[in-house]
Symmetry: none
Subunit: 405 residues, 2 copies
């Protein structure tokens, strides 16, 4: 029995509030000073909170597995990231701010150059974003439908864009099992989209027609006269957050990708721009309307990805200064964690367990002296799978009945 099946009959509603702050990529590794980003940052508020919270480290997917943003968030949202895999096409579409539906197949596309049947440039000489955008608008204008399938285009950076094929009816789970058409090397012919399962024939057929139509439209372009497609994928069937946990949830995130991930699990995801302070102001404004709040702090990860140890520490300090504003709301349960680690040392996501803190009236506390990797490991949560954070948050909010008599 999986976790969601176990807790579903136990869920009871009440008027508690749960706030989950995700400091994207917060976990780190020591630099030459011997301290991690969290240990170097001056974080009096996080540290004081850790002292009176249940702390630990969570494993996003499994030991040694470095998660992408999708699996990282799904785990802390209480969805098994191994069972709920999100295709690359879907993630790309979410990252471009597209609204993806259950009847959609998403695919990542590159503009490319084709000559005499072979690809001479897989990236169309990296045409500028402005030009790419115009081409994509032209495609949208000229291709609105293929058979009974609606086509929705979204421009990306440089030669990249995404397409949604919106089918009129439900798709099988394996309806998008189609090979990439990118031959991976210049000088080769593009591949044709081949269905890798019986249920993928319909989508492969539309994809083939799309590629031909695009080539017809763009054939006189000097650089971008063809497209290569990758990551065909449709939406995994994921129960809504409300259905799974009995929580009306709001996502507070300024990056489209994270709103998209939250929308995938059925959170409300109003568009939002601005700073972390703007996010917290939005939290205050909407506090009475929801049970659960996902507050996403992106920049911590961005600096980690860039290898900027000090920049990452500074973003952590920035959040620490704002934390008292969240505490003033007195949420019944406050969870602070990350979706994965992004050690500046590694300039990318890593598999390292991620500090997590759960604050409520029902913790032991008094164990950890700070919110950091080496303090959290001592805590009462020890090391736990990310998937178990949600049932703990629900329990601390009094939202789970007793199991068995």
């Amino acid at each position: 029995m999986n976790m969601q099946e176990l807790i579903k009959p136990l869920i009871q509603k009440n008027d508690t509030k749960i706030v989950m702050v995700v400091l994207d990529g917060v976990g780190g590794l020591p630099n030459a000073s011997g301290k991690t980003e969290l240990e170097s940052a001056n974080t009096p508020n996080l540290d004081a909170l850790a002292r009176e919270s249940a702390c630990g480290l969570h494993i996003p997917v499994a030991h040694g597995i470095t998660p992408g943003s999708g699996p990282g968030h799904l785990g802390i949202f209480g969805y098994n990231p191994i069972d709920c895999q999100i295709g690359r096409g879907i993630l790309e579409a979410l990252g471009l701010g597209m609204e993806v539906r259950e009847t959609d197949v998403a695919v990542r596309c590159n503009y490319a150059t084709i000559k005499d049947g072979v690809i001479t440039d897989r990236r169309a000489q990296r045409i500028p974003t402005g030009q790419s955008k115009k081409l994509t608008e032209r495609l949208q204008n000229e291709i609105k439908k293929i058979d009974d399938v609606e086509l929705i285009f979204a421009p990306g950076m440089e030669h990249r864009f995404a397409v949604l094929m919106r089918f009129p009816d439900a798709l099988k789970h394996d309806a998008a099992m189609i090979n990439d058409t990118d031959p991976q090397k210049e000088g080769k012919a593009p591949l044709t989209p081949v269905p890798l399962s019986k249920n993928a024939e319909r989508v492969a057929n539309i994809a083939g027609k799309l590629i031909n139509l695009v080539h017809d439209i763009l054939k006189n372009e000097e650089k971008a006269n063809f497209i290569l497609t990758r990551g065909f994928s449709n939406m995994p069937h994921i129960p809504d957050f409300d259905e799974a946990f009995g929580l009306k949830a709001l996502a507070i995130a300024t990056y489209p990708m994270y709103r998209g991930l939250a929308r995938l699990v059925g959170m409300d995801t109003p568009a939002l721009e601005g700073s972390v302070e703007d996010e917290i102001n939005f939290l205050k404004q909407k506090y009475d309307e929801y049970d659960f709040f996902f507050v996403h702090v992106k920049k911590v990860d961005s600096y980690g990805e860039d290898g900027s140890f000090d920049g990452k520490a500074a973003r952590i300090e920035e959040f620490d200064k704002l934390l008292p504003q969240i505490l003033l709301l007195k949420p019944n349960v406050l969870v602070i964690t990350g979706d994965h680690s992004t050690p500046a040392l590694m300039k990318g996501h890593s598999w390292h367990p991620v500090p997590v803190l759960i604050n409520s009236s029902y913790v032991l506390g008094g164990i950890c002296n700070a919110f950091s990797e080496r303090e959290c490991i001592k805590g009462e949560l020890s090391i736990l799978p990310a998937l178990n954070i949600m049932p703990l948050a629900l329990a601390h909010a009094g939202r789970l009945k007793k199991f068995g008599a």
Copy 2:
């Protein structure tokens, strides 16, 4: 492969003794002093033992899941509490001291008042226990059998009682899937027992006849002229303790419910009354006759449930004073733990991990300074599923062979 399947081929018998003391609901949370019940209690013997034991915290069912007494005990007895769910009828029967067999269906009953086809009081105005007992005896005298099914009645408190339907042959696992007949509200007609699975038809038929027979017998009673039934359930198929672990086991418990739970896994469960000291005397008396002893200390939980922090701490101290008597027996393995936490702060069971100590000649020890939540978390067992306590106990007793060559 589940744990029991894994260890079964490894089990070897020897003449070691394993004592498992269950301080019911022992885990707690800090009160205003900042200390938990275990931390406040003066427990020199438990603390000295913790210093030379393997310590940790166990999770009874799963993160965030608050276990009832059934799942709590099954886990520490080495049975997966999610796979072995015990119905409410069975638990009620066990709690009333009934001997439940594999061919039994158990159901909880209320005396109720019915008038013109609608229930006017779901609890028959909470008739006194003495009167209820007399009515139940009358029912037992007048209804001994329905078709080939033996009926066994047991009186409870006030308007409550339980009935076992003892079938002459084996039942399917879903034979008791029948709705409750309690309409949940006064002014409504009672529901009829409806089989919710094909295999439940036979039991539903007997249940319907029983309800009619009872009404015939009680129809002239002023208050208790009808019965409402809830929690139809039969015994889960659970391998005997001896079969699963190669241990001849004795349960030492003064409350019928806990003897019932032990009987469910095939332990010997002689009736016993008295204090914890009486239980320990019984342990001494029976020490040569068994391999495994489950010693249940109930009152720790009772005070926790009542919200009495000091009362709970006092019950822990009471056990601490008696502990040396158990140590004098020099069991090869001594396990001390609880079936779940019952923080006085929460006045009820909770999901918090439960301190556990395993003492044998084969531990690291020297890590924890006391038997408490915050000391045990440092220990060599860290946080572990309750299910893993039994294989550890067997290993420490030299009762598990090497796995693989």
